[in-house]
Amino acid sequence: MTKHQSSRQNNLHIPEPKFRPGQTNDFAHLKIPNVDEAPKPAIDCNPHNIRDLAYGLIRVLDDEGQAGGAWNINITPDILRQGLKDMLLTRLFDDRMQLLHRTGKISFYMKCTGEEAISVAHSLALKNSDMVFPSYRNQGILISRGYPLLDMMCQCLSNSRDNCKGRQLPIMYSWKAGNFFTISGNLATQFSQAVGWAMAEARKGGNRVCTTFVGDGSTAEIDFHSALTFAATFNPPVILNIVNNQWAISSNQVVAGGERTTFAARGIGVGLPSLRVDGNDFLAVYAASKWAADRARAGYGATLIEHFTYRVAPHSTSDDPSAYRPADEDKNWPLGDPLERLKTHLINIDEWSEAQHEQLAEQYTAEIKAEYKQAESYGTLTSGARPDVSSMFEDIFEEITPNRIRQRQELGL
């Protein structure tokens, strides 16, 4: 993972992923530690004594789907099953929405395939009253917290029932009742805002935790630095999650500085406790998230977590990854599929079966279909009912201003 440029040639170093289309990435360069390698410190530890955790990889599920190691906190089967269900629903929902885009029903979509464990396990490890400042790939949190699929679909359709009133691109959800902040199209801006939210919580003496997410590529943005700086200075109850899914559209994580060190190390730079977690291991993500949430709730402040994973899907429906990475790269990804791994584990411990899984998948598929039918009855971007056109002049300020009233009239509304 770290490579030292030893060339004495005075040339500009341009980082490149090791493999491009036409080649095969066997990920032989990735050292995957065993589940028993990472120690689990107490939540009141001194962050300086746990720096190694930023350079290793916290894992609980081994390759056979057995749980072990210090981070195995014996999550109840109920929670594990819930996690599997939420991940499955997330994946099936994504698949369906992607399909709708192909058929022209929605204008845009972004899947989180392969990354479901991160959102779902994190969500279950926290309380629903905890605040989320999400990125655009956290649909798993919405689903795990029970945001109705119908609401998600209506947002994606920009129809008459879209709570964003047709103003946002699909998937830019906002769910205030669920403590889920309005998603921004501008990368990383939520990361620093989350720190402010947590500062207010600390000042109030409340015990809610704030969590926020950013991609590997987005760690380069200015708000990432503001978030870490303010988190280090004011140490509020915030969890700063980096989802390192190896890619940022066409740019490999080496372009974001991933060549030299881990993303978890960014936290070391400002003295924050920093964990690096197998993001495809539901049990590991859950344990790490819970550790961070417990710390925050107990008043020990901020934690940074790098979730190490792989973006299996294209960046978005506007993207075709075959132009920049090996076609089968995701197949060779050594950390596997988070759903499969959790399913295997649950079957191993006799808490789940292939049959149950199949049945649940069928049930979800039917549910999604039914919900979509209902969603379409509220219109789509191009047909049927739409949000009230005149509402587009509202919500600039609390009260509409004279120029906007005039413009609304000009439009004949």
């Binding site: 709570n163 830019m172 801006t189 503001s226 300020f397 609390e398």
Partner: protein, 337 residues
């Protein structure tokens, strides 16, 4: 009523809001223990505690971003940007976030942050302590832009800004902190006790945003201005002897259409004055509004007297500043047109 200079009025507004609303939090560079490089938050930390009034890291971006986050958790943050010349690192959080949260969330979320920042020249601050960037922000839908010209307005408008549930950018013309400035840098400085607006109530009061004030009624010419230039224009009017109506906008966004349109419809002549550079400045918007709404009443071209289209040069501060003489020349041109 008490005598206050503009700094004291601004301090008083913050103190008043800290007392009335436990959710008010005040922060920025050097605003805590020290009380601000201009002393606009002096004594507030001692009185209200460091949980509510504190220093931040030197990151304008982080200050505004965390202010937004705090507001989402129920606070009413008042953030200081030490000089408005240094607001640009926070530009994205202002233009893409604060201004759009209410809109993009369909009204679910909103932010109420107030950003206080000293602006304008006349204190030998050179090109990075003298800027008037208000025009840039007036082009952004979703942020209110305020600039008072005296202590009374400063306090009333700042209280309104803090109480507003919308994000507000509150510009403080630093040349006016200690006294009115009538445009002659060589004249002895005078204090706000010489000006009726230096009388400021100790308690709570507010001035609605988006209400301009006619500071002088007149029949021959309308002069629309704000900030330091309100006083400079007053001098020019005295010097030229024209019966001008002077409008102090106070709030640039939203703007008070009626007051300016009514006045120009009455006088048929108009001058716009600001300290900011000309091209693309807010003067262009004012001029356009009048042109669009008062065309048939106009008897002469509207003119703009502004800072030149260059950075504020340290050695040529007073050659840059739109001094009364320049305003007066424009008045004469308009009256003779």
């Amino acid at each position: 009523m008490a005598q206050m200079n503009m700094l004291q009025a601004i301090l008083s507004a913050q103190k008043c809001m800290l007392e009335r609303d436990d959710n008010v939090m005040i922060f920025g560079q050097d605003v805590g223990y020290f009380g601000g490089v201009f002393r606009a938050t002096e004594g507030l930390q001692a009185e209200f505690g460091a949980q509510r009034v504190f220093d931040t890291p030197i990151s304008e971006n982080g200050i505004i971003a965390t202010a937004i986050g705090m507001s989402i958790n129920g606070m009413r943050p008042v953030a200081e940007i030490q000089f408005s010349d240094y607001i640009y690192p926070a530009f994205d959080q202002i233009a893409s976030e604060a201004s759009r949260i209410r809109y993009r969330s369909g009204g679910e979320y909103s932010t109420n942050i107030t950003i206080r920042t000293p602006c304008g020249g006349g204190i030998r601050g050179g090109q990075t302590h003298s800027q008037s960037p208000e025009g840039i922000f007036t082009h952004i839908s979703g942020i209110k832009v305020v600039m008072p010209s005296n202590p009374y307005d400063a306090k009333g408008l700042l209280i309104s800004s803090i109480e507003s549930n919308d994000p507000v950018l509150f510009f403080e013309p630093k040349r006016l902190y200690n006294g009115p400035f009538y445009g002659d840098p060589n004249a002895p400085s005078i204090g706000w006790d010489t000006h009726e607006k230096g009388e400021v109530p100790e308690g709570h009061y507010s001035i609605p945003l988006a209400e301009a004030e006619i500071t002088r009624t007149g029949e021959e010419l309308t002069i629309i201005t704000y900030g330091t230039m309100v006083h400079v224009v007053e001098t020019a009017v005295k010097q030229t002897g024209v019966d001008a109506e002077i409008i102090d906008l106070r709030c640039l966004s939203p703007i008070d259409y009626d007051t300016i349109i009514n006045s120009v419809n009455k006088t048929g002549r108009c001058l716009v004055a600001h300290e900011a550079t000309k091209v693309g400045g807010f003067g262009a918007e004012i001029l356009s509004i009048i042109q669009e709404n008062c065309f048939w009443k106009l008897r002469a071209p509207i003119e703009r007297v502004t800072g030149w289209d260059i950075p504020y040069p340290h050695a040529f501060e007073w050659e840059y500043f739109p001094v009364p003489k320049r305003v007066g020349k424009a008045i004469t041109r308009i009256m003779e047109a």
